[in-house]
Amino acid sequence: MSWNISRGVLATCIIVVLLLICVPLTESRYLIDLSTEILVYALFALSLNVIIGFSGNVSFGHAAYFAIGGYANAILLTTYGWPLIFAFPAAVILSGVAAAFVAYFCTRLTDIYFAMLTLAFSMLVWAIAFKWRSVTGGDDGFVGVTVPAFIDTRVPFFYFTLIIVTISCITLWLICHSAFGQSLIAVRENLTRAGFIGVNTRLMRGIAFVIAGTFAGVAGAIFAMYNRGVYTESAFWAESAQVLIMTLLGGMYSFFGPAIGAAALYLLERFSNEYTEYWPTVLGVILLIIVLVLPEGLVGLAKRLKTRFMGGN
């Protein structure tokens, strides 16, 4: 089985994982928290890219599955007292099922209507979370999530997150580089042509959507425990917009791009908030730069610089 990963990329991944393993050794609460959050968002962004970068559709409502994963996990753990081993997978499966439901209808539509429907659905999830106070806590949020004892403290939780996210990333990587993944890229590149080589493009896009939703659910489920609470903001369109920007900032045409974008945006936001309260403007300017100058994101920029300085192939 010859999975084609370049040695440079593989080495970088291993180094990153090793560095992450060492983070708790710094004993810096700030750094551990930061790393946990970045890991969650990296997975969230990677999952969205299965839809955008790999199958060529746009979702404005990816936060829905993040929120469903979060709320489901929180509710099962806390309200129903399920052990993590059942609650977590159940939450993830629920996200996947929701994604399947939406995908069935979305894939019938083209571009803009597809995006609108994903947005409508995620706002519906938001509205339900908002109104269904008895179950979700409404706009006060679902607070006091029961976190299992073995990951109840900062460092064990970090390693738990690291393990789950790493396994998820490896799985996503394998999927995206499999025969399925390559065919999905063809669907993105030329929808008509993909049909004319015998690919059921609607089914492919649907499966991609479900995969994306499932892993967003994983990210959401982790975050619910980390945050010890789930809030309606998780389903709001602003959350979907943020993860979309992360994906694009990093680079939608590369597998790891979105993870890089998640880290970059997250750090930029933290940094910007130290100096100004106008993060939206900063974000807007970043977006303008991406859109006008760097549509291929940071990874695209890196590739261009590499060609420039190393001269050709």
Partner: protein, 251 residues
């Protein structure tokens, strides 16, 4: 033996009847050209056959199986492939990947999550690239190739499906006379080697009369003549449509 057949095929775009009651049949093993002035409906006709458009009336059948308005990916699986007038390739993939992905789809491996994409059908991809003369460009990004080479890639993708019937929509569009004769020689050779039935549209008359066994003439969405090259060449209606029109243009 008839491999492709349309009966009473019609499409009405809200008042504009682009294809009007076309009864057409394609015989196995032949090289059949469809010619006609611009706007005659040649591409529309192809789109109707290959499931890209749904007809308002009429039927299309392929090897005795009704395929009217069947989804394109299902028609392809039956053995009918097409190339496009405007280049329709996978621009950001390499030439190699373009072919490889087509072969993956042909073998129905596109739902396979467990095998790496890059390892599939490598040998066969190489062979196909050699067949169309693109073996040197295998690592190039498809969208950056020269136009003529993109056309070759276009052809290779259509062939990857192992079709029995190949529809070529203006295969030499935009080519110089030299490129045209090279491309057509290639198509002819491949058709012979793989025993393909060929249906193609063309403007270049030298191509048409060079390799076609039979010619059909499409005008305003209707077939006004169909037969051997000599028969069509001397058909008065055809002459009127072509020569009559060029007389008007000159005036």
């Amino acid at each position: 033996m008839t491999v492709l057949n349309t009966s009473n095929l019609t499409i009405d775009f809200g008042g504009f009847v682009a294809i009007n009651n076309v009864n057409f049949s394609l015989e196995g093993g032949e090289k059949h050209a469809i010619i006609g002035p611009n706007g005659a409906g040649k591409t529309t006709f192809f789109n109707l056959i290959t499931g890209h458009l749904k007809p308002s009336r009429g039927e299309v059948s392929f090897k005795d199986k009704t395929i009217t308005a069947l989804a394109p990916h299902k028609i392809v699986k039956l053995g009918l492939a097409r190339s496009f007038q405007r280049i329709n390739i996978f621009p950001r993939m390499t030439v190699f990947e373009n072919i490889q992905t087509s072969l993956i789809a042909r073998d129905n491996k596109h739902f396979n999550f467990f095998s790496p994409g890059s390892a599939q059908n490598r040998e066969e991809t190489r062979e196909l690239l050699e067949l169309v003369g693109l073996e040197d460009e295998f690592a190039e990004i498809a969208g950056e190739l020269a136009y003529g080479k993109q056309k070759q890639l276009e052809l290779a993708i259509s062939l990857a499906e192992n079709p029995t019937v190949l529809l070529l929509d203006e295969p030499t569009a935009g080519m110089s006379p030299q490129e045209t004769s090279v491309a057509i020689a290639l198509v002819d050779e491949i058709a012979k080697a793989r025993k393909l039935t060929l249906l193609f549209t063309e403007h270049d008359m030298s191509v048409v009369f060079g390799i076609a066994d039979r010619i059909s003439v499409l005008h305003h969405g209707e077939i006004i003549a169909s037969g051997s090259p000599d028969a069509v060449r001397s058909d008065p209606e055809v002459r009127r449509v072509y020569l009559g029109e060029s007389d008007d243009a000159a005036a």
